[in-house]
C-alpha cells in the first residue's frame, strides 16, 4: 500500500513520443503551433523538475520560515499573473496590488483555516500539507480574480456611455454597474461550481487521482478532495468579491463619476 510505481527517465521519454507525434501532425498542417507546443513541453519538464527539487528540500527541512518564503513567492507570481492577464490595467502598480491583496486575504485565510481547524497536521505548517493546499486554493482564486477583473473593466469600458446615462438619471454607481457586476461574479464562480457538480461523475479530480496513484484508499482520497473543493470555492468566491469591490471603488470616485482615466 506504500508508494506508487517509480518512473524512470525512459518512461518519461516514451510519454514524450506522444507529444512529438502531435508536434509532427501540427507541423504537417502548418498550424504554426508546433513551436509553441515544444516550448511549452520543455517548460513543463524544466519547471516541474525544478519544483520537485524545491519541494523535496522544503519537505526535508520542514521549517516555517522556508514555507513562508515559498508562500510569498507563490503570491508574487500569482499576482503578477493577474496583472498580466488584464487587457486594461489600473495605472501604476495598482492592478498588482489589488490582485496581491485580495489573493492574500482570501487564499491565506482559507489555507490557514484548513490547516488549523480541518486537517491539523503537526506542526500546522507541515510543508507536505501547507504548500499544496495553499497552491490549489491560490491558483483557482487567481484565475477567478483575473478573469472577473478583466471582464469588469472591459464591461465598464465598453458600456461607459450607458453607465453615464444611468448615472445622469440619478442611479447610484452600484445600480449603474450591477448587471455587469453580476455577470462577472457568475463568470468567475461558474467553473468552480460546475466542477463541483460534476466531480466524480465526469472527471476524477486531479488531486484525488494523484492520491490514489500514490496508494491511498479511494475512500480516504475523496475526503481530501471534498474539503479541497470547499476551500477552493471559498477562496474563489471571497477573493473575487473583494477584488471586484476594490476595483469598483477605484473606477468610481467620491462623486460617483466613472473614472476610466484611471485605467492605462
Amino acid at each position: 500500500m506504500n508508494g506508487a510505481i517509480e518512473l524512470d527517465f525512459w518512461d518519461i521519454g516514451f510519454a514524450a513520443t506522444i507529444v512529438v507525434g502531435l508536434g509532427i501532425l501540427l507541423a504537417y498542417y502548418r498550424l504554426g503551433v508546433t513551436r509553441t507546443l515544444s516550448i511549452a513541453s520543455v517548460r513543463l519538464v524544466v519547471q516541474l523538475f525544478a519544483i520537485g527539487y524545491v519541494l523535496k528540500f522544503l519537505f526535508a527541512e520542514g521549517e516555517l520560515s522556508y514555507v513562508a518564503i515559498m508562500a510569498v513567492i507563490m503570491l508574487i507570481v500569482a499576482s503578477r499573473e493577474i496583472m498580466a492577464r488584464q487587457k486594461r490595467r489600473l495605472k501604476g502598480w495598482r492592478s498588482f496590488g489589488l490582485g496581491a491583496s485580495t489573493l492574500f486575504v482570501s487564499s491565506f485565510a482559507i489555507a490557514l483555516f484548513g490547516l488549523l481547524v480541518v486537517v491539523k497536521p503537526d506542526p500546522w505548517y507541515l510543508p507536505q500539507y501547507a504548500i499544496p493546499l495553499l497552491g490549489m486554493i491560490m491558483s483557482n482564486a487567481m484565475s477567478a480574480i483575473s478573469l472577473s477583473m478583466d471582464r469588469l473593466t472591459s464591461a465598464l469600458h465598453d458600456n461607459r456611455a450607458i453607465i453615464e446615462q444611468r448615472l445622469a438619471l440619478g442611479e447610484t454607481s452600484r445600480e449603474a454597474i450591477l448587471p455587469y457586476l453580476r455577470d462577472c461574479i457568475r463568470t468567475g464562480i461558474m467553473p468552480v461550481v460546475n466542477s463541483m457538480a460534476t466531480a466524480g461523475i465526469v472527471s476524477l479530480p486531479g488531486m484525488m487521482t494523484g492520491q490514489i496513484l500514490a496508494g491511498a484508499l479511494p475512500t480516504e482520497a475523496v475526503k481530501y478532495q471534498i474539503i479541497i473543493w470547499f476551500f477552493i470555492a471559498g477562496g474563489v468566491g471571497f477573493g473575487m468579491a473583494a477584488a471586484l469591490k476594490l476595483l469598483e471603488m477605484r473606477l468610481f470616485d467620491e462623486r460617483q463619476r466613472l473614472r476610466l482615466d484611471r485605467l492605462s
Binding site: Q165, L169, G170, D253
Partner: protein, 219 residues
C-alpha cells in the same frame, strides 16, 4: 451685520437658480454662468468647442472643479445621485439598456405624453432595438422628465428630429420649463432655434463663454 450680508447673498443666489462659478474641466478653465428660474439659456458653438462637456461637468458626470449651486445650495451638499436627479441631463444620443422601454421609467408612461410626442401607445412595451432614431430621442426626453428634474441641461434635444417632431418636442420642453420654473441650458446648433427659444444666448469659443446679441444673430 454679518448675518444680513449672508442673507443677502443667499437671496441673490436663490434668484439665480442654477449658478456656476469658476468651473474648470479638462482644458476649460474658470467658466462662469448663471441661469435664472424659468430662464432658457441657449448655448451655441462649433462641435468640439466643449458644450457637451460643460453640461456633463455641471451634472457632475466628468471630473471638474468649481462652485455649482442650485437655488443657493451647493452641489456638494447633495449626494451625487440626488444632484443628478435634480439636474436633468439629456445626452445628444439617447441610449437604452433594459429589455423594454418602460423598464427605464420610474412610473408607467402616460398616454397623454405619448400622444403629445406622436408616439404609439404601446411604445413602453417595445424592445429599444425596435425604436427609430427619432423615437429614441423623443422617448429619451420623456425619460429625463420622468425623474422630475428641477434644472434641464439639454444637449441638442431636437437634433435627430424632423420639423414636426422638433416643434412638438420644443413645446413639451417649454411647457415643462414654464410649469416647473426650471432653469434651462439648451445646447443647439441652430441659430434659429437659439434666437427663438433662448432668453439669452451664449457662445462657447476658444474655451470661454461669451454672450451673443440676439439682433446680430437674426440678421
Amino acid at each position: 451685520m454679518g448675518s444680513t450680508v449672508w442673507s443677502m447673498i443667499e437671496m441673490t443666489s436663490e434668484m439665480e437658480g442654477l449658478n456656476v462659478q469658476n468651473l474648470s474641466f479638462i482644458e476649460w478653465e474658470h467658466l462662469d454662468l448663471s441661469v435664472a428660474e424659468s430662464e432658457v439659456v441657449c448655448l451655441l458653438g462649433d462641435s468640439g468647442s466643449g458644450k457637451s462637456l460643460l453640461l456633463r461637468a455641471i451634472a457632475d458626470l466628468i471630473v471638474n472643479e468649481g462652485d455649482v449651486s442650485l437655488w443657493g445650495k451647493g452641489r456638494e451638499s447633495f449626494s451625487p445621485p440626488e444632484w443628478r436627479k435634480r439636474v436633468g441631463y439629456l445626452a445628444a444620443e439617447i441610449l437604452w439598456w433594459e429589455e423594454t422601454v418602460d423598464l427605464h421609467f420610474s412610473k408607467p408612461l402616460s398616454r397623454e405624453d405619448l400622444d403629445k410626442l406622436n408616439l404609439p401607445h404601446d411604445a413602453g412595451e417595445w424592445a429599444p432595438s425596435r425604436l427609430s432614431m427619432g423615437e429614441r430621442q423623443r422617448l429619451g426626453i420623456l425619460r429625463m422628465l420622468d425623474r422630475s428634474p428641477e434644472v434641464l441641461l439639454l444637449d441638442e434635444p431636437t437634433a435627430n428630429l424632423d420639423e414636426n417632431s422638433s416643434s412638438v418636442v420644443e413645446k413639451m420642453l417649454l411647457d415643462y420649463i414654464g410649469e416647473q420654473s426650471a432653469p434651462t441650458l439648451w445646447v443647439t446648433h441652430s441659430k434659429d432655434q437659439a434666437s427663438r427659444q433662448g432668453h439669452r444666448i451664449l457662445e462657447m469659443k476658444n474655451q470661454s463663454l461669451t454672450e451673443l446679441d440676439r439682433a446680430v444673430l437674426t440678421k
